[in-house]
């Protein structure tokens, strides 16, 4: 299985990872290898196997609807790069 340069560039955009031109050939090889591994898995006969949502054979525990968290804004915002009036500030996003 091969992966195209366009696919790699698209995945990089989706993952918000900046790629240098010279990194792409190595990634083509590495990601191609991973996809080959997936091809091998795909070859296994799974006709009578139900898809697995989680590797653990267990069921999710649910939590009662009670407030257990308190306001820790100060602690959280101490490590934020920029805050103002209680808001986290991020580079301007406009859609």
């Amino acid at each position: 299985m091969t992966i195209s340069r366009e696919d790699i560039e698209k995945v990089a955009v989706l993952a918000r990872i900046r790629l240098d031109e010279e990194q792409i050939p190595a990634l083509e090889k590495d990601l191609g290898n991973i996809l080959s591994l997936v091809d091998q898995l795909t070859a296994a006969d799974t006709d009578n196997v139900e898809p697995l949502a989680h590797p653990l054979d267990a069921v999710q525990r649910l939590r009662p609807d009670e407030v257990t968290e308190s306001n820790q804004r100060e602690a959280f915002q101490a490590i934020a790069p920029a805050t103002e009036n209680g808001l986290y500030l991020v580079p301007r996003v406009i859609e």
Binding site: R61, D65, N71, F76, L89, V93
Partner: protein, 483 residues
């Protein structure tokens, strides 16, 4: 060319839980920014989500209310995209195994038709935070209090064919989720948000056209306008030989215009996969039954009961049953008033008009159903005329008295129904209007006669200082004029 309009809706409903879907943070509205955003909500490394049982119960209640299958085993997936108000970089949602499966809602239309709108499914997911684009030195402010608020996203089949049908469905859904208490129904705070998928196809064609999605409509009026706007836009393009691009559009209600937000063809690749942090949730019969017992009477059932119990027509019963609080007020009025139909008229008429005029909800009304019911009784037994009743209503509303009887007494609004006294007044008035009496008696057209009769009522009401019973006046007049 003639076109068929095809509309499907996606509705985000904020669930009225006390805490978030995956953390014990409060969901109370109006808190200071980021004071209700815990480590889980902020996606701090090492945190794990634990689902809120009540969110599942509410989702199951919704499923039962729309006649849907309940997903016995529901699975959470990650929908990956980057946006600053989504700290994890993915939204935890449900893709293939939603909590609510196929169901339906029946809507009533203005022309008396009823139509079934199928629900494709409804799934549980988390809301995102809020981005504030006011200027923070060229930066954007992020408030994550809303991040992780539980939502159900309800997806309909494309079963609606006009703005009227889409709005009727939206109102019905609003009524349903508020009535069963799983959502506060406050659209101005974004508790319900509608996305509208619209496409056109040549009339009668089986093949669906390319659709666009208009996002985040939070009022019924904007929804109606946005649909009209988008239908016209697509029609113009298609009739000019153009092609519709599948895209998301934003509608600006204040300007009645829309713009493309992003093209779904290229930008959206969400790379869904099952969330490894959460195990499948199993819903058993006991859980479903525990949700079922919490369901109050549904609006459709209430409507049928109002027709049966109070003899209301379909239209009035529909209006009164849609909102649980209005329905409760009406029932209180009807139980204290002798005449349920008259009670319905007053609740839907004077009372509702006053609420609208003062922008109040039923619970904020300064009068109770009991007070209105007592007034209705006095109208029904002819103690007070309808114009007198309006004065009593006004006084009750303004707190100028506790009950109808006291106000009727103190303001002298008691209708005179003593036939002897009324007859005397009629005699006096007629004696002063000999020409009109002669004219009336010469008239052969009953319609014109009826009209002329009104000419006597004014002076009679004046003579009785507005307290004469109009019905009795009418009877006496007819008798006397016949001669």
């Amino acid at each position: 060319m003639q076109w068929d309009i095809v509309i499907g809706l996606e509705i985000h409903v904020q669930l009225a839980t006390k805490t978030k879907i995956f953390s014990g943070s409060s969901t109370a509205f109006g808190a200071e920014p980021n004071t209700q955003a815990s480590a889980v909500d902020l996606a701090m490394p090492g945190t794990l989500p634990v689902p809120n049982e009540q969110a599942f119960r509410y989702a199951v209640m919704f499923g039962l209310a729309v006649n849907a299958e309940i997903g016995r085993r529901s699975v959470f997936d990650r929908k990956n995209y980057f946006y600053p108000d989504l700290p994890k970089g993915y939204q935890t949602t449900q893709l293939d195994h939603p909590i609510v499966g196929p169901g339906f809602v029946d809507i009533d239309l203005a022309d008396g038709r009823s139509k079934r709108v199928r629900i494709h499914h409804a799934h549980l997911e988390e809301d995102a935070g809020k981005s504030l684009h006011e200027d923070f030195h060229g930066m954007t402010g992020i408030d994550l209090n809303r991040a992780g608020t539980p939502l159900i996203e309800i997806v309909t089949e494309p079963d609606m064919n006009s703005a009227e049908e889409a709005v009727a469905f939206a109102k019905k859904l609003h009524s349903l989720v508020s009535s069963i208490g799983i959502c506060d129904g406050d659209m101005s705070q974004g508790s319900l948000r509608f996305d509208v998928n619209i496409s056109l196809k040549p009339k009668g064609s089986d093949e669906l056209g390319t659709r666009t999605e208009t996002k985040n409509l939070n009022s019924f009026r904007f929804m109606e306008q946005a649909i009209a706007h988008e239908v016209e836009r697509q029609m113009d393009i298609l009739e000019d030989g153009g092609r519709i691009i599948q895209e998301t559009r934003l509608y600006n209600g204040d300007r009645d215009e829309s713009r493309s937000m992003r093209s779904k063809e290229e930008a959206n690749d969400y790379r869904y996969f099952p969330c490894p942090d959460l195990l499948p949730v199993e819903i058993d019969d006991a859980f479903i039954e525990s949700a079922r017992v919490l369901l109050p009477e549904l609006p459709d059932d209430r409507k049928a009961r109002f027709k049966e119990q109070f003899g209301l027509n379909d239209y009035d019963a529909g209006l009164l049953s849609a909102d649980a609080r209005l329905a409760g007020f009406f029932e209180e009025t009807a139980s204290h008033g002798k005449d349920p139909k008259l009670a319905a008229n007053w609740v839907l008429g004077e009372f509702s008009a006053r609420l609208n005029a003062e922008d109040k909800t039923v619970t904020q009304a300064p009068i109770t159903g009991t007070q209105l019911g007592q007034l209705v009784t006095r109208i029904a037994d002819n103690t007070v005329s309808s114009s007198g009743a309006k004065k009593v209503f006004e006084a009750l509303w303004n707190g100028e008295g506790d009950n109808a009887d006291a106000i009727i007494e103190s303001q002298g609004l008691k209708q005179v129904s003593d036939t002897g006294a009324l007859e005397q007044m009629v005699d006096e008035v007629l004696a002063n209007m000999p020409d009109q009496v002669a004219q009336y008696q010469q008239e052969t057209d009953p319609k014109k006669q009826k009209k002329m009769l009104g000419g006597f009522m004014g002076p009679l009401m004046k003579a009785s200082r507005g307290q004469g019973n109009p019905k009795l006046f009418n009877e006496i007049l007819l008798k006397k004029l016949k001669g």
